[in-house]
Amino acid sequence: MNNKSIVIDGKNVPFEDGQTIMQAATAAGIYIPHLCHNPDFTPHGSCKLCTVKVNGRNCSACTFPASEGQNITNVTKELNDDREKITQMLFVEGNHFCPSCEKTGNCNLQAVAYHLGMTDNHFPHFFENREVDASHPDVMIDHNRCIFCTLCVRASQQEDGKNVFAISGRGIEKRLIVNSESGLLKDSDLDVNDCAAHICPTGAILIKRTGYKVPIGQRIFDHAHIDTVTLANEGASHDE
């Protein structure tokens, strides 16, 4: 065993070679806000919520390797204020109406927003027209809520051994697309039991006829904060 360590907000955090800052932090019970990251899949580094300062320089904790001599700040007003604004960007880019979304209470985007103290959208809305693909018998896509985290893309490739999803387009034109000749979910290989159908951190990919099985008030984030929930889930998945 080695005893290498990094410092996060003044606390010594051990790490092993090859670990990212996120992995080391999670293992040590430190929550770094994130949306596109899930420890079960290759890190992506696109949402930028997990930005931390490493020796004064901004780095994505989910992709940046931990190494000796790193002095990292994670919970500061500056970083959390900016994380809030990045979250607000995601909100105005899509069409997110939490009160009428069946994912409310189980949604990471919403929970992160609460965690960061977000009370408004701050930026002007894009009000893009985005479609809903309800063609599949068991799974639906509401493009209004997609934040392009690629978790469904990665889950389909890395867990399901399929290639059902992709993120297409450039810049603000980015869209989730489905790998089928018609472009519709019903013509793809997706099965309701696929990991990709259940991985969405927002309400963009939903399992049909299950929306209100768990009533509002009894949902994941109704009584727990995202930091504790995440550390319990992702810390555990690390230990496997």
């Binding site: 580094g45 696109s46 990045i86 995601l90 105005v92 930026f123 992709a166 297409s168 810049g171």
Partner: protein, 592 residues
Amino acid sequence: MQQFIRQLAQENDFQSTCLLKILRAIQARYFHIPKAAIEQLAPILNIPRTQIQNVIAFYSFFHFEPRGKYDILISSSITDLMVGQKELIAYFAEKLGVKIGEVRADGVVSLNNTSCTGMCDQSLAGLVNGYAITKLTKARIDEIVENVNKQLPLEQWSRDFFKVEDNIIKSGLLLNQKPIQGEALKAALERGLKETWEEISVSGLRGRGGAGFETAMKWHYASEEDAEQRYVICNADEGEPGTFKDRVLLNSYAHSVFEGMTVTAAFVGATQGFIYLRGEYLHLYDKLEAILEDRRKANLLGKNILQHGFDFDIEICLGAGAYICGEESALIESLEGKVGIPRNRPPYPVTSGYLGKPTVVKNVETYFAAANIAIHGGEWFAAFGTAKSKGTKILSISGDCVKAGIYEYPFGTTIQTVLDDCGATDVLGVQVGGPSGTFIANNEFGRKLAFEDLATGGSFIVFNNSRNILDMVHNFSHFFAHESCGFCTPCRVGTSLLKKQVDKIVEGHGSAGDIVALEELCQLIKNYSHCGLGQTAANPVLTTLERYPELYQNMLKKISYEPGFDLDKSLETARRLANRDDAAAHLAQVEE
């Protein structure tokens, strides 16, 4: 079509890395990428159809829907606007009978704007079916319209349209060298590769693309990696608006550039090289291919080069309209047949680049300089420049000056000297380094070209006092929003928000809080974006806001809040539905 595509795939050994090349051929033949082509290609290239769809959607020169048989694109960078681009493209559209962005009903012609095509010294420029056209005037436009309407094949058009000038106005240390085929390579091999590396190290040569990474270090890192294959890539994706020196180097000094690559390859142990040529420079493709063929015949490329027992060859790969591919890891992704999204780093390309192998990526000018250093030695080069920026820099000068073109200066030269040489008078300011660089005002012309002061990849755009700086900021903000790859949130959403916020202010809808909001947004994009594009996308606003805050302030309305949209205009639909246009159906924004 099926047979055509089958054959195309076969010619490319069914390699998915050749996807851009294959799609370029399909686009050229069918004016779009038909759905059937995607369905046929995916299985034979052994990639998901979504990868092909992604590539088509990502690159500006690929289309899902047919463009015209003659697809005309007009450069819309700030230097184009200076020569009346808006008026001329409107004239073009009117004469052709087509709306900008659309295809004419008969399918013969389509017209659109495009990002800077690297012809800023011979504006107004554009592309017809990918081939550069320059110096567009109303008279030329009339002729082109006639050719199009007659459906005259491109080969029969007057060659004058396609004439691209070098415009080398001031040669220095490097441009004065007359390239002799094989000279640099022979010098390097005679001296010894290790010794040649030392000369490069002594020369202090830093990357000429703008970032300025030390060349000798890159060579060293790539050569040290344990790998069976290594690659050498020349970045000729000269997309920074206002830059065109690489085009000139490739047109007139290609041997030196290839030689620089070959010397690099010999040192690091690479057998395969690529030159990633921006799609806008398609007109150079055949010429460069012929030069490569000459070099193969002269045993300067290929097997056992100059009987020194090493193999190396260079392949030209064309881009397809994406500024982001100038970023080295995005360029590598593009070479692999994918969308140009910058990779997470580390690992860096020198350890894990093309196909995961150690890769040296350098700018055209860097290889050009390296070849000359191989001949003349490191001291020769390091005698010029400053302590931290050795040698000379080749500038692409455009905008408000008498002689736009190519100028070479030792680092450390002042902006004033450059302005005097190019005949710029009554200067308001200069955009140094393109939109991603810095705007400097006319009280800063004592500043120097150098990595430690004003770093530049070569773009140098002069603005005289008749220009409105906000027009430039507007143009550049739109450029970045258009070119953002969309991978990370701060750049994807941020550059579009920034575009809207700049529009709001420039169009006179800004009010008190809007400058603060603008600055806050800029900092967010700059500090949190994934790559250099996002990190510099706010520079046009930040560098001008710092120098001319009053210019922005004066655009604001003197009210505490102004909605970001035109209230009265938004009622248009309601008025139409109600069939009303009386005074009561109009709403003033605020009580004036």
